[in-house]
Symmetry: C3
Subunit: 440 residues, 3 copies
Amino acid sequence: MSGHATNLRLKLPAICFLLQLFTIILFAVFVRYDQETSARLWHEELSHHNKSNRDNDFYFRYPSFQDVHTMIFIGFGFLMTFLKRYGFGSVAFNFLIAAFAIQWSTLIQGFFHSFHDGKIHIGIESMINADFCSGAVLISFGAVLGKTSPIQLLLMALFEVTLFGINEYILLSVIGAKDAGGSMTIHTFGAYFGLMVSRVLYRPQLDKSRQREGSVYHSDLFAMIGTIYLWLFWPSFNSAITAHGDDQQRTVMNTYFSLAASTLATFAMSALINGEGKLDMVHIQNAALAGGVMVGTSGEMMLTPFGAMIAGFLAGLLSTLGFKFLTPILDFRLKIQDTCGVHNLHGMPGVLGALLGALVAALATQDVYGDGMADVFPLIADGSRTATYQGICQLFALLITLGFAVVGGSLVGAALKIRSLGSPPDTQCFNDQIYWEVNP
Amino acid sequence: MSGHATNLRLKLPAICFLLQLFTIILFAVFVRYDQETSARLWHEELSHHNKSNRDNDFYFRYPSFQDVHTMIFIGFGFLMTFLKRYGFGSVAFNFLIAAFAIQWSTLIQGFFHSFHDGKIHIGIESMINADFCSGAVLISFGAVLGKTSPIQLLLMALFEVTLFGINEYILLSVIGAKDAGGSMTIHTFGAYFGLMVSRVLYRPQLDKSRQREGSVYHSDLFAMIGTIYLWLFWPSFNSAITAHGDDQQRTVMNTYFSLAASTLATFAMSALINGEGKLDMVHIQNAALAGGVMVGTSGEMMLTPFGAMIAGFLAGLLSTLGFKFLTPILDFRLKIQDTCGVHNLHGMPGVLGALLGALVAALATQDVYGDGMADVFPLIADGSRTATYQGICQLFALLITLGFAVVGGSLVGAALKIRSLGSPPDTQCFNDQIYWEVNP
Amino acid sequence: MSGHATNLRLKLPAICFLLQLFTIILFAVFVRYDQETSARLWHEELSHHNKSNRDNDFYFRYPSFQDVHTMIFIGFGFLMTFLKRYGFGSVAFNFLIAAFAIQWSTLIQGFFHSFHDGKIHIGIESMINADFCSGAVLISFGAVLGKTSPIQLLLMALFEVTLFGINEYILLSVIGAKDAGGSMTIHTFGAYFGLMVSRVLYRPQLDKSRQREGSVYHSDLFAMIGTIYLWLFWPSFNSAITAHGDDQQRTVMNTYFSLAASTLATFAMSALINGEGKLDMVHIQNAALAGGVMVGTSGEMMLTPFGAMIAGFLAGLLSTLGFKFLTPILDFRLKIQDTCGVHNLHGMPGVLGALLGALVAALATQDVYGDGMADVFPLIADGSRTATYQGICQLFALLITLGFAVVGGSLVGAALKIRSLGSPPDTQCFNDQIYWEVNP
């Protein structure tokens, strides 16, 4: 590839303008305020249904939304600044593709979930779901970080959001699986999709850029801003769209304890597997978060606090081991160059979290859930399926997700191989200077 | 100016003590807890008016308040750390002047808006408004960053907060204009006030410090912390004091989509206008936020999601163009040295936001707003003015704001020229070492 | 000590696994969801007590919880990154010990406060209290920062959390003292406990590491992230567990104004006491926060806004003076090496805050509090004690806290002297390389 091919002067404006204008037109045609957001409709609710402003879903979900929003833009963005010379690309391309993905996913998810009378009706919950969907894209971004142009990333977002929406619709609406925190829909899907893209875009000559693939002292501290914010707000992530009341509180608590346990497991394992008994910031930055992924499906269920701890503890252990033992195998055997190790943080814990969710669902009893069953497992509560069958549906949902991710990632990866998309040459990966004005 | 004049040993303590003690005395004489904050009064509300604790305004507004608070102290503070050797001054003087401004504006705004029976009564909404007012001061700070002493900044805050309060009172209470997110009262006022101060304090010899006016790699990353937090929480900023229910939710949504569209516009334009097709962090750090300023007035109105996107898209385009083409004109032709480019981020988008607000107000119909009209346009709802007249009032409000800002900024700038206020010499601008103990 | 003794390869995993597994077992035996977190129990509440989901305590406290959570993990963690080569240890050991402490304190506090029918029942309030307790441990961490191994820190957390729980139980449940923001239970206890540990672990040869005890330019900016977040969210900290309604709002307001005034006092005093009239980032990073500690006890009371300002102003002055004049005395006369100056930020302002709380309690009258007396001083409201007696109880609570902290810290410090706990040699204090893989 010639250096000239990475010049974004016309290509990036062209794709940004095109995507943005196309999105605006679709919004103009299809998207409307929902009944809690529209001045007229909400005031009709107030007067006809004896509601008060306090019942507006905004007050149940806005604090959680802002925590999720922070995770997407600060959490993911800064987590990836660990690379010594790719801080601009990490935080700013994260910003760009998430800003596009939240718009596009509002359309895609809207068509599947809130399309009535020819219009998509949106409110606070659709904003949370849009942020969730962009989270999946950012996970995939982690797998290809430093090796792709912003044009490739925008196209990846375009296709991935679309597939995400289809997969999510099948899981939640067709199969009736539960996955409030997205162990399957977000983490498993985003990770394996990204890993397949990375596989297809395999660079045999990446060694020419390896000297920039590490961190420096202060880039590791910037990355810790991302890590800690992800860790802090993960309880909000998993609970943001669960049912009001006990469900939100329980999901928060399960996630809180799962994360705490995965943190201790990560420190323990990091010291153990390193030849000199020293800790490694890569593990702390990533594996300590595996506890949040692990309870993404089961967090709203009656997992119990100690159950959450065991889950988080195992997730932290396995995720740290993954960085040590699996990442090299992926890289050298499977030809999957996973810059951020998303397989360890999102892929493996996502699959485990899906399996845990299936198990906990299969164990659900009326005795434990009481009238709360209707919120967590409506299809069990109304008698249309048994707990065991719910568990089987959860397993099936995992398989479908893996299928969509692997096939979708492969196809999209192939599309991104088109030469004119501004991909960096092998000698210029992980280097901000190729796309950014950088002061010395 | 001699170097000695910048020694703050006696001057800074003197002004801090004076301002703080004077403020405390005024608080002691005038400021009281309002009926939702006082133990006795709130419990009278509970028993006499059949209220519950849930109705306390605290629960409707505190999450938004904390987001605004984060924008003021983290957002503005870190955004300005982009300068290579002015990080301490950026984040810490931001801290100092905002800590004073929130106290002083509680008094000034209190006299105009909640003065009853000889006392100012304060609660969560006055805290939000105090933070808003300090936002205007921090915008002005951006125009004079690195060229002023903390003493000058405190005096600027003292006068600017006072004028802000008068202007806001005229706009909201006399004219009946709407401006919940402050396109006029905060952004237009703060920007043109600061630009006029900068004009009056023009330094023909500033070239002697230009070598410190740029960024280094990590200072740009610190600045991105500020940018992203401003971007994330701008929906809370615009909605923090709108009416409960649909108004808060709608304002959040409009701001969310406006910001997303302005981000894509900024990336597109940044690549386009740069000779080598590379992106410029200055644009990303600033122009991506213009969408939030742009819908400050109209965000609470029935702008529609696609209307918000169009607004944000244009704001991002124009703001980026401003950095490329207007900032040099301001600097070399108009003798306005605008360190942070506040004209591009706050000035121009503020004026455009005010015009958009006037337009959307003039288009308001009973059909679209229903009973919600009383919350957004109470004077239209009660029949005392037409939508067209409301639009004209909005335009008039913009003109008054520009007048207050330009005249006020000129006068305050003149007052800040007094030699003994510790201003740095032309050779020592943008340099922390002049006011700070700095380790090598 | 030999270099080998700091190798953590087996010791750190051993203690992490042991503590985590022991905690999980105790959780399995004792810890259950409370009635607002359990699916069955909350739905029984809903149907039997005519409640709505809106009454779930989650919606009153979760935003405050997340602010507190941010203070513990971002605030404390980054505040301590000011050291030039101890950023990893600061933010990551903070992470480790807080992740353990929140689990352990859930058990300890649960036994004392929510143990019914042989089980501990937990919900959002116990999560806030667990975070509070970990805050005390992190204050102590500040006193020994850079001079202790993670193994020592985990053991310190184990013992300190236990003593914290006993002291807190005596104060709140036996004596009936009030301390919602923890001037006594958290700040005084954490500071003097840590100072005594530091005293017992005194290193006469610490000069060998003094060249690493300072900051560099960017480490001071990282520390400001911690400072500003602590400052921003301190109103949430002090109000997180106060009664619903006016109490939460009033506590927020008092803390807000106290912090603003302590900020001006800090800047004033910093310029005044420095020979060259320059400001010192150490003061800004720490003393500006003293206003939050100062109103920890009295913040929920009818302190009045100007009373809060006077309190914060004095706290800022004294705390800054402490850094200049007391820290050297502690170091060279009392052999207390206080790395972060916790005596100035938490110790002294904590004691003053306790005294202020006693004074304001003693001045409580029915006229001022009305029916709100029952929320703030239930024992005065029900006639079982006078305001004066409440004030005396507050003083007594301070003495007990100091006793527990001094005796407990001494004993725990002695326990931590065991040679095999991986403590760094005198030449390797404040150095990340001893416990971390560090890229050059």
